[in-house]
Amino acid sequence: MTTLAIHRMGKALLGPGALSLEGLPAEFQKRFPEVSPKYIDTASLLAGIAAVEALQGSNLTEEERKDFSVVLGSALGTLESVLDFDGQALQKGPNAVNPMDFPNTVANAPGSRVGIWLQLKGPNVTLTNGGTAFLDALGFAWEALKGGLFRRGLVGAVERVPEPLRGLAQKITGGKGAQEGACLLLAGGTGSMPPLFEVLDYFSVQLRRDLAFPSAFISRWEPLWEGVEWLGCPLGVPLEERFPTKVDRWASSGGQEFGLGGVGAMEAFLTSSRRLAVLGAYSPGERKLSFVKIGKK
């Protein structure tokens, strides 16, 4: 059985009592004094801050950096920069926009910048996978480890809602809003650092139009639940009737339409005494569910 060990977590979550972008964290500024919010998009900064925290104490060698990956998921990617750039072009004319702002508009800017800033030269992957982005990034790394593409790296998600679209985000989440920020996990072989937990399985599926489970995948569904005693997943998602009845349930509280779905459940699992769990996330607009099975030794 393939297991992907997760050794450390780095977080840069925005919100009351959490990170503010008024000033970058000292550790990040010390590492990258030339990086300024004036030129770099917020999603890249958030990913960079989380990456520095996740890598603290890992002392990567030059050799390790050669195959050190970045797998970063998001729902909205760098939409904020797209709106800024296009808005400038609409107001001032396309020949007046700052060309230095253009690279901020590509969705792989956060993942690529983490790779460039930290000199991580393994496969660099950006997934825009809606509300299942965080779990899909973990699942991608686990499946890529099985296939030989991934060996070690930073895996997680970043989310940034553009300021002008906050009203729409409030409406679509029933007033809860989206969790913004970044959460990156240090995954794979990293010397003697003990793992926080291990990824043991991954399954993701877009349901059919009538919300039916595609029966051809039944052989992937059942092994997911073997031995599982705890489920971290939003309430009211499709397939509830298929979840095993004898698992305890932790339900997250909204914001699941965006990319950090599953982070809260993961943290709740880490502070619990549970040994084996399934984390779930749901993208309602896409009828897509993703599950990652994790365990503590």
């Binding site: 800017a109 890529a144 729409l168 877009q206 009828r287």
Partner: protein
């Protein structure tokens, strides 16, 4: 480990709607880029682009499904529709199988993003349907394909800029060979974007007239739009139903320059690594490669560094043919690698190398044989398709006849 073959292809690009039309036009060396009509050319320094001119299928689809899917989703669906038809499969056939859809894109549903920015500038965002915030997400493209054909299964959308299509095809290969799927629809899609056009325009990356990959007097790229889809199928299944097999997808490799957001590494390190990883994944050596479908954007920096990487891996003595179809259709962004992969499949299948058009004079720092200006017969059995991107992300596929 299951073997993975290509049994269907779908392409929409400035040379036409359809694989065969596109192939034939490329064999004849036609150039599909030209004066910009989707944007007001007076606003821009450069006034040419690559637009899908034959929009009859797009218009018919939008008329039949008004407002249901965004523009990039529509291209994705139409390219998949052609891939299914060429594979002689129906949506119903696949509905009972383990099928998935993996797409790559640079800008995703950018035309909706542009409408959002217009509304933001005008102060009318409050009146917009909140579902726009879901519909604008890149993930919507793969969702739309599965939704339209009434399938259920895994989806992923890779946003690794212009290397994305190969990421998606590589992931489809991975899923089939691990036995997770029987069929995967994979590729890349990008619609014409004023954000991308304005951005490349301001970076001075655009040629004012035509794209001349590997030519000493090359001046830059042409921003374009398109869609490319490969229908990947587990070999045993394809053979059992008597499908036409274009080629086998044998390996893929991803790399990272870790150098700069917009400039390739001067030594082409990511390109070199990803080609090497793809060949290793395929269990092949550089000496077995018959041709390379280059990233070949026509910018001075890309073509030089790609040549350095190719010569480092393949040696300077061996003149492997290297072509760039971007000379004919421009740079279709996230679709580029998928369209190039589709054309590489056909090159292997039909025994013809497509030309690099507009080539005028040799650049000593570039590859020696770029199949200049004329298609030619080809007997090789192994192709590499390169794709590189902003951020230094690189991806390569290995296909075998």
């Amino acid at each position: 480990m299951k073997r993975t073959v290509v049994t269907g292809l779908g392409v929409l690009c400035p040379l036409g709607d359809g694989v065969e039309k596109t192939w034939q036009a490329m064999v004849e060396g036609k150039v599909g880029t030209g004066p910009l009509t989707l944007l007001d050319p007076a606003l821009y320094r450069v006034k040419i682009g690559g637009e899908i001119k034959d929009r009859s299928r797009i218009e018919a689809f939008e008329k039949a499904h008004p407002g249901k899917y965004e523009a990039a989703s529509v291209l994705s669906i139409l390219a998949c529709e052609e891939a299914l038809a060429l594979a002689r499969l129906t949506p119903k056939d696949l509905g009972e199988l383990r099928i998935g859809c993996f797409l790559g894109t640079t800008m995703g549903e950018v035309q909706l993003a542009e409408r959002l920015s217009e509304a933001s500038v005008r102060g009318t965002l409050e009146g917009m349907d909140p579902s726009a915030l879901e519909r604008v997400q890149g993930s919507r493209m793969a969702h739309s394909v599965m939704d339209h054909f009434e399938w259920g299964g895994p989806t992923m959308v890779f946003c690794n800029a212009c290397a994305s299509g190969n990421y998606a095809i590589g992931w489809g290969l991975e899923q089939i060979r691990q036995g997770n799927l029987e069929v995967a629809l994979c590729g890349g899609v990008d619609v014409f974007s004023r954000v991308a056009f304005a951005g490349f325009n301001r970076l001075l990356s655009l040629t004012p007239d035509k794209c001349r990959p590997f030519s000493a007097n090359r001046k830059g790229l042409v921003v374009s739009e398109g869609a490319g889809i490969l229908l990947l199928e587990e070999e045993g299944r394809a053979k059992a139903r008597g499908a036409h097999i274009y080629c086998e997808v044998k390996g893929y490799g991803l790399g990272m320059d870790a150098h700069h957001m917009t400039s390739p590494h001067p030594e082409g390190t990511g390109a070199y690594e990803s080609m090497g990883r793809a060949l290793k994944d395929a269990g092949l050596s550089p000496s077995e490669v018959g041709f390379i479908s280059a990233h070949g954007t026509g910018t001075p920096a890309n073509d030089k560094t790609e040549s350095i990487a190719i010569q480092k891996l393949f040696g300077t003595d061996r003149k492997v043919p290297v072509n760039s179809i971007k000379s004919m259709i421009g740079h279709t962004m996230g679709a580029a690698s998928a369209i190039e992969a589709a054309m590489s499949c056909l090159s292997l299948d039909k025994g013809t190398l497509l030309p690099t058009m507009n080539w005028e004079s040799r650049d000593a720092e570039c590859v020696a044989d770029c199949v200049p200006n004329q298609a030619r017969p080809f007997q090789g059995k192994v192709a590499i398709s390169n794709s590189f991107a902003f951020g230094g992300n690189t991806s390569c596929l290995v296909m075998v006849k």
